[in-house]
């Protein structure tokens, strides 16, 4: 082990060396997401900005695709991070895992370059295979889809085989099964049909069953590990909670899929089924808050890594508000008829993705940097702690400001475009031109710039935190009884 406070791969186990590679790319793509989000946001206020060069559609596509990929990279990294620790044995196919990382990264770079430089193709199947699929979130061309599936399968093999060789814990069991589902669901989005109802029906299998089922359970596993790691919470408690969360999440989230089947041609019974089950979805999110807050309180917030713990607690609340409360607000069909596809949706989408997933991955970034620097002290009062505190504050304030601004614009839009206007071309612009809507867009940008400042500070902090620390990390004992 090298000196405290100095970044050295010697401080990491094999899986963790791979993890920090994923984390690095992940952070860079987070930056890209923020940048293209700003460009798209500016175009709302100034439509001529980059018009014909980088149109809104291009910026938005890069914005949300960068998000999906950096979150996936963050998840994969996080799992590699805990893999050897949790299983008690080295990663089985580390060389393969490394190769996989480089191929995956290269593929992402090629896809993004094609998005930016070629942008659109002729209306033929080959455009979908080579340029982009034009289906929100899963725009990646078909060749890349196949690559993604192969990469995820290799990753899955590594995880499953490593756990099988070593310790197969409760967390491991949930994680492995969850990854099978996560990879399998992607296949539902990988085929072409002229029928847009059919298309969107299966598209939602990927999107909804990812974010409201499999990804939620994945962060549940990460949360479980994080709580053990930062505070030494007893495994039995954590794993019991994890099972409770899985039961509640899948029990509500799987049939909650129906909240996307109200208006796309699917039968009327989904109004009832989707409304009912998705209305139950906040329950597991409440359970997660109770769990995290109870444990943190029980341990008097004494932790080995304060920034990580702060982001984990933030995850519990962010998930609850962004997904649970903001999701619930528009999930009943009686309301969704007027809010469907308005800025309401954008408001919810931002807070949910940030609250549930960004937060958790940032917590892992902090866990990683701590160990990378030789398991350095990261309690409160660490040297230069203003940076992580300020970046956290700016990211949260920026996100909440954006969410609120979008919500106000969304209210106005659902009223003027939908309820009064009847959702046609004229009604759409009546709402978009209204001062209340425009003000919302201005405030979204103020929030956006705040968020971007938070990101810059975050990146800086991750590069420097713990650098001048000479104290070793606080040792948190597992609860003894």
């Amino acid at each position: 082990m090298s000196a405290l406070g100095i970044i050295s791969n010697a401080n990491l186990n094999g899986g963790q060396k791979l993890a920090v590679k994923y984390f690095t790319v992940s952070l860079a793509l987070f930056g890209a997401q923020v940048l293209f989000g700003l460009l798209a946001g500016i175009q709302y206020l100034n439509p001529d900005f980059l018009f014909g060069i980088l149109d809104f559609s291009v910026n938005r596509m890069v914005h949300i695709n960068a998000m999906v990929v950096w979150l996936l990279f963050g998840f994969i990294g996080s799992v590699y991070w805990l893999l050897e620790d949790e299983s008690g044995t080295p990663v089985v196919g580390l060389g393969l895992g490394n190769l996989n990382f480089w191929i995956f990264t290269l593929a992402v770079v090629v896809v993004v370059l094609v998005y930016l430089l070629i942008q659109v193709g002729p209306g033929e199947l080959k455009s979908i295979w080579l340029i982009n699929e034009g289906r929100e979130y899963i725009e990646a061309p078909r060749w890349a889809d196949i690559g993604i599936v192969v990469c995820v399968l290799i990753f899955f093999f590594n995880v499953a085989a490593t756990f099988m060789k070593g310790r197969f814990t409760g967390i491991a069991g949930v994680l492995v099964l969850d990854l099978v589902a996560l990879a399998g669901l992607y296949l539902a989005g990988m085929w072409y049909t002229p029928n847009i109802s059919m298309d969107q029906h299966w598209w939602w299998w990927v999107i909804h069953l990812w974010v409201e089922a499999t990804w939620e359970v994945l962060v549940g596993c990460l949360m479980a590990y994080g709580l053990i790691k930062t505070m030494g919470v007893r495994r039995k408690i954590v794993e019991t909670w994890l099972y409770i969360e899985v039961a509640l999440m899948f029990g509500s989230g799987i049939l909650g899929l129906g909240h996307h089947y109200f208006w796309i041609g699917t039968p009327e019974y989904w109004l009832t089924i989707g409304g009912f089950f998705s209305a139950l979805e906040p329950i597991p999110l409440v359970a997660m808050v109770v769990h995290a807050v109870f444990d943190a309180g029980y341990h008097k917030l004494k932790s080995s890594n304060t920034p990580a713990l702060a982001w984990i607690i933030g995850q519990a609340f962010g998930n609850f508000f962004g997904a649970g409360v903001w999701g619930f607000m528009h999930t009943l069909p009686q309301i969704n008829l007027y809010t469907h596809g308005t800025q309401w949706t954008a408001s919810h989408g931002h807070l949910a993705f940030f609250g549930a997933y960004v937060t958790m991955i940032l917590a892992f970034f902090y866990l990683a940097i701590q160990k990378w620097r030789g398991n350095v002290w990261m309690g409160s009062n660490l040297v230069g702690s203003w940076k992580w505190k300020w970046s956290m504050f700016l990211l949260w304030t920026g996100m909440i400001a954006m969410t609120m601004a979008l919500l106000i614009s969304g209210y106005e839009q659902s009223q003027i475009e939908r309820a009064i206007g009847g959702s046609d071309w004229v009604a759409y612009f009546a709402a978009q031109e209204h001062p209340w809507f425009v003000q919302g867009m201005v405030w979204r940008m103020i929030g956006g710039w705040t968020f971007a400042a938070g990101f810059v500070l975050l990146a800086w902090d991750l590069m420097t935190i713990g650098k001048r620390e000479t104290r070793p990390a606080l040792v948190v004992d597992a609860e003894s009884h």
Partner: protein, 220 residues
């Protein structure tokens, strides 16, 4: 550590998790089979129409029994004056769908309410009053899609870019939009006031009539 209460037992919750997930998933599979049946083009329930519905007038009318607007298939009113067979219609709509995907419409517009919020929803765009009249609509739509930048309909200056859409692609896209407007969306978008198509004379069929497409598509 005292004895764990039965309701806090790890194995109870592990079993619950497995059972709840399994049962939910089985329900979902069951419902999926039924739903796919309903949303196959030309399905018996008529929620998603056969592609040849583009040979007919499509309207969006309030239905008192369902208490919502529903698509209503009217008399033969072929697109671009040509009645198509089901296969021809499918090929055309498919070309249009491919155009919407490869030009990335969904990252500016919503379709069936899903996508992006930068531009109007296209679910009922075929029926939009801004196209003027039903006689000029097809032509206006093709012209708009091929060169939208100078046809501004708002004071914000928010324009649709020229996406290099060819005439063939534009016509196919219009076919796709017409077909999409016939999907039964449970009354979404609510309160939509469609273009008046009622009193206009039925367009004359110019091309050779196709064998199977004389009347409304098989379902109602």
């Amino acid at each position: 550590m005292s004895q764990t209460a039965w309701w806090a037992s790890e194995s109870l919750w592990r079993k619950s998790a497995i059972w709840v997930t399994g049962v939910s998933f089985i329900f979902l599979i069951f419902l999926t089979f039924d739903t796919v049946d309903h949303i196959t083009a030309g399905s018996k329930s008529g929620r998603v129409k056969a592609y040849s519905v583009i040979n007919n007038r499509i309207d969006y009318v309030f239905d008192a029994k369902r208490n919502m607007q529903v698509p209503v298939i009217g008399p033969v009113e072929p697109l671009f004056g040509k009645v198509l067979t089901e296969e021809e219609a499918e090929a055309l709509v498919s070309k249009g769908k491919l155009t919407t995907q490869s030009k990335n419409c969904m990252n500016c517009h919503t379709l069936l309410g899903n996508g992006s919020y930068y531009a109007p929803d296209l679910t009922k765009s075929w029926l939009d009053q801004s196209w003027g009249s039903k006689e000029t609509r097809e032509k206006s739509m093709v012209e708009f899609l091929m060169d939208p930048t100078d046809k501004l309909h708002n004071s914000l200056g928010r324009k649709m870019p020229n996406l290099g859409i060819t005439e063939e692609e534009a016509k196919a896209t219009v076919a796709f939009l017409k077909w999409m407007s016939s999907i039964d969306t449970n009354g979404f978008p609510a309160n939509f006031k469609p273009l008046d198509q009622s009193d206009a004379p039925v367009a004359t069929v110019t091309a050779e009539p196709a064998p199977k497409a004389s009347a409304a598509p098989a379902q109602q």
